[in-house]
Amino acid sequence: MALRFEVLGRFNRARAAHLTLPHFVCETPLFMPVGTQGTIKGLTTNQLEEIGCQIILGNTYHLALRPTSELIDELGGLHKFMNWPRAMLTDSGGFQMVSLLHLADITEKGVTFQSPVDGKPMLLTPEESIQIQNRIGADIIMALDDVVRTIITGPRIEEAMYRTLRWIDRCIAAHKRPHEQNLFGIVQGGLDPVLRDICVRGLVDRNLPGYAIGGLAGGEDKDSFWRVVAQCTAALPEDKPRYVMGVGYPLDIVVCSALGADMYDCVYPTRTARFGTALVPEGLLKLKNRAMSDDTRPIDPACACMVCKNYTRAYIHSLVTKDAMGSQLLSYHNLYYMMQLSRNLHSSIVQGRFPEFVCNFLQKMVCISLSLSSCH
């Protein structure tokens, strides 16, 4: 175990905490930007620090392909490679392989797939995934799980859940750096409460430093989504961090935090920025819209970020989808928005005004229906 989790304040199931990791002391609830290939698209590590980013996510699959985990290890680990002094989390590589690659096949051994580099058949086993993550050197590493989308029904979900439990033991055995890197287990089981319960118990028995709720944010209806999160947070240990993978929309983060989750990740803020959409308290602001062309207000008058302090909607409108700087400025604002949301969640819980914060947040959000669609 290489972390400490100290709860500082609560409101019902919501909690604000200090999460002490080898590279940084984080405040939860928190959002983690995704830095797929060792970089957050459009921002430097200096800017990430400036906006208050605490942990970023690296994708094991992408990094193992290029530049390879061996090279990263040789160069002192991903922190040094990308010059990021704070905390880092790597996922197992499993999700990308299944979502990005055709003809990926999951067996008891691991995930077999065709290498996108040369088409050769390759196998990612739990052991291999952990070894790659050991070399990359992140503060938190994820177990290789058998991920199944929640829109799928039938025996495959049960098979995946039990396999995830068998694989966690192999991950634990393969983990060579438990005093520097925290291995999180991932709860699977689809939308089935019985399967989810079995999985939670199995993982909790292994006494891991932290737990993730996986297999969501994939097209299921919101009621099912929240029900699964609520069930898992109720059953997972109080004194360990809970990470809902692939979430997401600001509204989802607020709700999951109310249900007792602590950590989130999603490509949404940066990806939607590249399509010209800004995150604002009212929901979404589409800068591509003709109406923006002579709007001399900032994106969000209440936002203190560099973009909102200096630029008008009209100027950003002239940049978006035509000039890279448009994507950069919007990515900066959107991530600032997410960091501010994390700070607000943490401080409102600590200061005993969480319900007021949530009510205020919901009141402002005019476009609730837009925020409820799936996260890809």
């Binding site: 430097t44 200096n46 800017q47 400036e50 062309s293 002579d294 001399t296 560099m306 302090k309 200096n310 630029y311 008008t312 009209a314 100027y315 409108h317 002239s318 940049l319 035509k322 000039d323 890279a324 700087m325 950069q328 400025l329 900066y332």
Partner: protein, 226 residues
Amino acid sequence: MSSSNSIHSSAMKFAVKAWSNGRARAGVLHLDCCPTPIDTPSLLLSTRKGLPLFISPDLLPSLPSPDSHLLHVSPLHFLEGLSMTTISKIGGLHQMLGLHEYGFAAVPRDSIQCLPEANSTNKVGASFETPCGRLLIKPAEYMEMISSLRPELWATLADEVPAWVSDKRNKTSVDRTIKWLDECIALSPTGGAVFGAIVGGSSLEERQRCAQEVARRNVSVLEYHD
């Protein structure tokens, strides 16, 4: 030809400090907006819609200063998506870009995208390739852009031609450039330093003729080369 060693306008002061044995000279440029003077010869940073292509504005201060404080702006970039009315409403380049301690030099053409189209230029205006297609820019329209943008330095509209045109076409380009020089000066807003454009291709005579005419108008000088 004018041999003045210094130029003053409300936004800009320039003085030559030293000469080589040949014609090279080192100088100092003072702009009201820039906290420190800029040594010349100086390189302009290229921009797209006013912001550098390669670095976001909050990271600009990490570049060497004051050497990175002069930015080239092409007014034609703004034809795509931002009206001059809106730019005026925002307050010009400095307000719009949030870059208050940087000097802007407006020149219609850039090195990549907004290139002059000599074949389409006529007596009414200069033709350029732009992100919105090929456009004919008249002096009055150009000056409207300059008045909205309010750069510290700006070049007058020129009929730029490549070196291989006929003598006749080359001479015409000088005639037009001088005519547009006067039209631009007549419409010039207060506060910016005017740079008269010098064309003439590879004809020394034509270059001299153009330079003499520009010098008579007592403005700074911008020389175009192919």
